[in-house]
Symmetry: C2
Subunit: 101 residues, 2 copies
């Protein structure tokens, strides 16, 4: 469905857009995604790097996974998470740079 900017936003678009930005609107999720700029991390790796509980990280990763902002690969019992949305990561990077001035 095409959407020129002079019309009302349809409900589905509104939902997707708000969910995407909501994902970036939480400090914990920003820190997680910011970590993943560099390289993939295990759940415990993220927890240790950011001083967060394992369950906190796991919950937030599920949130990000549902929006397809991250993906993972398994290695034994360890899951390595990586970012999975270039557009969102670029927005995050730009906004961080923009805020550092």
């Amino acid at each position: 469905m095409e959407n020129d900017n002079y019309n009302d936003l349809d409900e589905e678009t509104l939902f997707v857009v708000s969910q995407t930005f909501k994902a970036l609107g939480d400090p914990t999720r920003i820190r997680i995604l910011h970590l993943l700029f560099q390289k993939e991390y295990s759940v415990n790796g993220i927890a240790e790097a950011l001083h967060l509980r394992q369950s906190t990280v796991s919950h937030q990763l599920r949130f990000l996974k549902n929006l397809r902002l991250v993906k993972y690969r398994r290695e034994g019992t360890t899951l390595y998470y990586a970012h999975d949305d270039e557009h969102v990561m670029n927005m995050l990077k730009q906004t961080i740079d923009h805020a550092c001035h």
Copy 2:
């Protein structure tokens, strides 16, 4: 301060970035900003166009104003609001376009 990694985000940056995205993470605020793509609107104008209460619009405009995402000019008793952050508006536009597929 236990900031042992130069790649960690400092607290202020984290706050500004999360607030910015949080602003875009609510359907009502998205609709308001989307309206302001076209032209400036009065508070009542926004309320009528989007079928929202005057106080709802006013509250959300204050939120957006605090983040300097909108500005206003006065004409009599009427305040005309307009967008005031090109970077944020561009992100919003891109994400809307991205979600319309």
